[in-house]
Symmetry: C4
Subunit: 466 residues, 4 copies
Amino acid sequence: GVNSSRWIISPMDTRYRCWETWMAVLVAYSVWMFPFEAAFLSACPHKTEQLLSIARSIVDLFFAVDIILTFFVAYIDPTTQLLVSGSGQIAMRYLSTGFIMDVASTLPFEELLALAFTAKHKISLCFSLLGLLRFWRLRRVKHLFTRLEKDIRFSYFWVRSARLLSVTLFLVHCAGCSYYLLADRYPHKGKTWMGVINPNFRETSLWIRYISSVYWSITTFSTVGYGDLHAVNVVEMIFIVFFMLFNLTLTAYLIGNMTDLVVEGTRRTMEFRDSIEAALNFANRNRLPPQLKEQIIAHMCLRFKAECLNQHRLIEQLPKSIYKSISQHLFLPIVEKVYLFSGVSRELLLLLVTRMKVEYFPPREHVILINEAPLDVYIIISGEVELIDYGSYNGGHKEEETVVATLQTGDVFGEVAALCSTRHGITYRTKTLAQLLRLRTHDLIEVMQIKREDKATMIHNILAHI
Amino acid sequence: GVNSSRWIISPMDTRYRCWETWMAVLVAYSVWMFPFEAAFLSACPHKTEQLLSIARSIVDLFFAVDIILTFFVAYIDPTTQLLVSGSGQIAMRYLSTGFIMDVASTLPFEELLALAFTAKHKISLCFSLLGLLRFWRLRRVKHLFTRLEKDIRFSYFWVRSARLLSVTLFLVHCAGCSYYLLADRYPHKGKTWMGVINPNFRETSLWIRYISSVYWSITTFSTVGYGDLHAVNVVEMIFIVFFMLFNLTLTAYLIGNMTDLVVEGTRRTMEFRDSIEAALNFANRNRLPPQLKEQIIAHMCLRFKAECLNQHRLIEQLPKSIYKSISQHLFLPIVEKVYLFSGVSRELLLLLVTRMKVEYFPPREHVILINEAPLDVYIIISGEVELIDYGSYNGGHKEEETVVATLQTGDVFGEVAALCSTRHGITYRTKTLAQLLRLRTHDLIEVMQIKREDKATMIHNILAHI
Amino acid sequence: GVNSSRWIISPMDTRYRCWETWMAVLVAYSVWMFPFEAAFLSACPHKTEQLLSIARSIVDLFFAVDIILTFFVAYIDPTTQLLVSGSGQIAMRYLSTGFIMDVASTLPFEELLALAFTAKHKISLCFSLLGLLRFWRLRRVKHLFTRLEKDIRFSYFWVRSARLLSVTLFLVHCAGCSYYLLADRYPHKGKTWMGVINPNFRETSLWIRYISSVYWSITTFSTVGYGDLHAVNVVEMIFIVFFMLFNLTLTAYLIGNMTDLVVEGTRRTMEFRDSIEAALNFANRNRLPPQLKEQIIAHMCLRFKAECLNQHRLIEQLPKSIYKSISQHLFLPIVEKVYLFSGVSRELLLLLVTRMKVEYFPPREHVILINEAPLDVYIIISGEVELIDYGSYNGGHKEEETVVATLQTGDVFGEVAALCSTRHGITYRTKTLAQLLRLRTHDLIEVMQIKREDKATMIHNILAHI
Amino acid sequence: GVNSSRWIISPMDTRYRCWETWMAVLVAYSVWMFPFEAAFLSACPHKTEQLLSIARSIVDLFFAVDIILTFFVAYIDPTTQLLVSGSGQIAMRYLSTGFIMDVASTLPFEELLALAFTAKHKISLCFSLLGLLRFWRLRRVKHLFTRLEKDIRFSYFWVRSARLLSVTLFLVHCAGCSYYLLADRYPHKGKTWMGVINPNFRETSLWIRYISSVYWSITTFSTVGYGDLHAVNVVEMIFIVFFMLFNLTLTAYLIGNMTDLVVEGTRRTMEFRDSIEAALNFANRNRLPPQLKEQIIAHMCLRFKAECLNQHRLIEQLPKSIYKSISQHLFLPIVEKVYLFSGVSRELLLLLVTRMKVEYFPPREHVILINEAPLDVYIIISGEVELIDYGSYNGGHKEEETVVATLQTGDVFGEVAALCSTRHGITYRTKTLAQLLRLRTHDLIEVMQIKREDKATMIHNILAHI
């Protein structure tokens, strides 16, 4: 095992990923060229024919290399989710899954047949039929797209659009080539779709013939159907019947996919509109003063923007160990600097930190109202928080509010009320968008019970601070 | 900072909003005219040509003004959600984002090139290519539509339909102009899509040529494809192949959007039907008497209508401070007039008011049943509530119900049972659609504990009332 | 008020509902005939022309009657949800909403104009323009369809399909008539879409001309576009451009609606498949014995069938008063006959009955397992329940189960364990699909505390029964 | 009853299921051949005509047998969900539901009429009209597809696609045959859609005529509409108008179905992307170190893969009795071998086993963290779990972790802390994908109270193990 694993490649290796992508490109080339060659090869000048043949050989060589390479690539076992890198196991798995088809789709049947038979027309037919084995390779392109769809570095919308476009283009190309083949092989030249327009179509350039085929193909696929090119004999009619049945499905599939993407893309805007509309209806029905109405709308807008910042759900899904690492990395540097915890043991800080939660508040939102029970202690990570005095409750008129002080990054608030178990004596309101660390009073007191000396330090800190 | 900010414009300023809308209109004009001019300018009479040139210059002037103006428009910083109005910061941001493209799309290349070269055909080509820079301006129209989609003063359905229609119309117009350009520039006049029908098409009026182009374009886009106008040469075929690929996507996108809007629009009707159907099935399966069945259906219908009136979810989302302002504004004037709270201190009323919730009851719905525990106290905001006596439980037959009294706006009920901790002695039922303020007995008693003199006043009020 | 209300009609009156439906039929006739008359009236034989004119007058007469009638129809006030039947209020509301348009769409402009002018061609034009006012009447057809969509006696699928079909047919008809009008009014007969095929098309029968127009219209609307009939002159091209833009939207709307209906229709099957699939995966992965696997699948299938029978959600939405009536109607007759409650006061039974819930159990499902805590007491409404003894726990082999007894409608079980607070000594399993009344032991004991004599009766009943 | 039920067939009987499928195949043949025979029978050579007639008779014979057979097939009563196998009840039900239509669609009207009338053309017409009764049989094919859709052995996507394809093909075939019938029966041969192209179309082979009809049909259905074959006379136009209306609906239905399937198929990928995206945004915004970021992403990916393995929801839906059997079958063999429970009575083990839950943990996930409260005891079913020591908390650096031991299938952990009520002294982390049995400490202790001797055994086991 030790010796062999030196030669084993990890499937997550960047170089192997590049090789896979390169193979997908080669597959795309080979399956694209196959119908073209089957239909137009006899019409090509000899030079082009030779070039295409060489290209085909090189591609097949790459596929042969890939078959050998696959014997050295580790795989992930689906039951244990572990990487299997024993060469025996790898070989067993490959031989029992895709090996035979991979070899069959790589063997150069044309050249082998050319040795056996000498008549050209027979080769052509065999080539057409055995060449269909190459479509087995499309599996690789499908895998690439599936991987890209799950890769969030790329936009889902564009990856799926690219996939649909590739499928459509390939189908249109294949249909065009096949349809030309029908006209080319039909005995009575004048009674073919191309022969009706130009009986000597074989004399025109390859380029014009190919473009005409693709033009017919896309005209039919998109259901425009001008009718300038249409089926003439029965064979063409049968071909079109099946092509159209296939088109119907593909068109419906395209529309279905687009609908899916559109619905996904507009969901958030719709939710936003619904919530704003509900707020406005509420304000109008109750004839709230315009000032209050604006405040409500502004709050709804900000909440919508800040919504994606609150990641409670995400963090709750993570396992405890990862969450511990995250909170240690994020909060410990801040918490260490807070005056309340200066001199407190690292052990206690670690316990505290895992119990904290980060929250975002939009600007001018009240964090703590006067007379509230001391449920939470807050530490400011970013943004500013103001202490506001409303002037001893004389009628609740807002005009008399006074900003007593402004707290900034690293400041803690609510700790005095929490530790003294009294109600808050002042209101705390955010000035800008603020990111706050929230610690439940309950958790703080629970943790403080664990170490007596730390409890003493913290109480000492508070007294010194006041 | 103080001096410069005198010249700074807020992006929410109404006048600036108007300017932005006006600029979007100009953009629409300029990108609409560009393909038309590229295709048909040479066919225009000289007078029209001059007029169009002047219009172009005026539009460009406006865009130049807008570029300068942008240096004086404040922006909202996405991290702090605060308005940035420092001229340095504004300039830095604009220079690093859209400035270069804005300038490039505004420079009058045609005139500059006319100075450099004198041959007309070269200008025409450069004009076509550099003019494509103008499509950069479309960004503004997109922003306008995105803003309108989020603006709930306009119907979402119509804004999105307008957006889709604009995109469709613009595409059809562009495709028509481009297709004409192909026919116009093709050397062999007889072998073009227009030349096949009328070899001297250049002699016909501009109007007929434009309409024919747009007619072909929309016939192809909508996939009708009559076939009276179709591709004749290879260049046209290639153009149509790409146009159709694009059409497929756009058609699917149109259908996807419409499906999204339809699904959204019919959701409520479907929910209504589902609930009614469930109710009816229930009634039929259990063979309920027709009278009871009708009552159930009527209740379901009214509940569906009144549903949008109950805004608990909305209010729960609002921050405490806003909720306090709302309840103070809505409920304090009503609560002050209730006999139970006459003479009670404003401070206590404020505390009570924030604990109240508003609820809507459909007509003839029971609010409190006889013998119920005194969980809530209700104050009537609007509508009427009847006190009903069912005649001392003699078999539960409904016929003997007697309306003892009718309560109206400002009346309170359930308070006696709540403060005496006894079960309710009578049934309360709504007569019309009623809006009630609900206060939990628990909250009422909790608040009463805070001030002894107010508690005394309230008990005195009740005794005086009875 | 008293006198006038004798003449007021309720909008829910069956006869008025019939009148409304009849008016909708007349509207359908009049808007359908209007484009036909505008296009083909001059081509009709004189007799047909007279008949159509008479029909038009009769329809207008009906509309005039309806305008007068509307002054006597009560309406539901949207704010109080009460029926308003004061004739003054009705008149005010009608005059301020639809009255003017109703009168304008009913006045026989053609006849009035015939008195003013004598030249026939002028009338024809005015008739075309003023006749468009008749489309205002379509509002009524829309109301009818909206009402039918909410009426659950009709299938939602078919009502919405009928609505979409009506819209499509009407559009196709209008477009066909308008397109014929263009050909008919165009000065150069040979250069019209109909003239190209048959220059003397005016001599052909009315029937052939109408069918040709509709044939063109539907060919274009469905985007088939054979091309045998196509636009020839510029006016026709412009018409087609707008017609196609409209078609695009309508097609997308049709597909959107169908998608909505299909998604709704297949949701349940999908949910069923998902749950069965999950169950099967679970069974396979854990290699459960086939017998157990079948049991699980059978349970899932039955649960799916019985799901719609459990109406907890519905009942929870109903107000307490209605729920009380329902439970009294449904359960009292059964509960009265149960031996446990014989001789118990009606008052206590009523209290018990409102606390009961009905539940459906699929066949062969265990209701109570041996050794379970006595949480609930069950009364059988329908179906059968078996008492099963598993033979004192010797290894849990199922083969040795013995059916001790079978309970039927009206029997109660679980009551002994509940009142003696012991664990259940036997297993209860359903034999057929069973409908059971469940009463929580907690509720039963709570209610029993209220009346001492009833408690004694019940304990006496149990002792007598054992 | 006893005697008759010997002859009764169960509807779930495999042989009867095969018969039903065979009948569906025969239905497919007969409804497919009917329009073909109606249109082309007169054009067939005499030999083919005789063959088709014999085939028709054989099919009808099978249907007759099926009618008789149905009297011996039991059915499931929808109200009791029990199998009804009384022959009287079966006969009553069949006679009152489908019997008459089944007989009407099976009677050989053609042969019966041939006896009555001798003129051939009259038979042909009657045959066409009465043959429509055969479409009643399609009900069986619909039932087959509905059954297949609910059968999870077949892919939902492919069954529904097959259903849609069958409907489409059948419609295209019917439309083609009907359209040929129109051309064939029209008096003026030159003025038909086929006669325009080839006036002597009746002389061409049957095959060419059928393919041409189907080619026209599919060209129209797919809305391509080349226009090479189009309506010529009024009758054909009317036929096409109705055919297109029907097509519109069917196309929309196809697209709606495809959208439904696509949305269903992509939901999981979308959810995966959303969760990964949220995780990555969170990591980037908080600038987490790359190592931690990778850990989070890896966790999200694994969680997504293992998600389908956690079947809590499924098990919660199962009735208690089935759950008991499952847990007994799955967990008892494992639990019996655990050292902790050696010598414990089977009764207690059964109680414990029903309280256990199976859970999957991805590799390298922490199951228990050091210092955690002892909430759960775990037994390993598969996979491996490591005991890790982090080296007495010196700064929380991960590098110093030491694997103390590795636990494997059948091992139990967490039991010491649970029974001694102390905090865990070490961290437990999965090494591979692990399947664990979780038992709440609370449940374990509760069960232990039931039997004193078993409690003593277990404590003895622990002491011996340590």
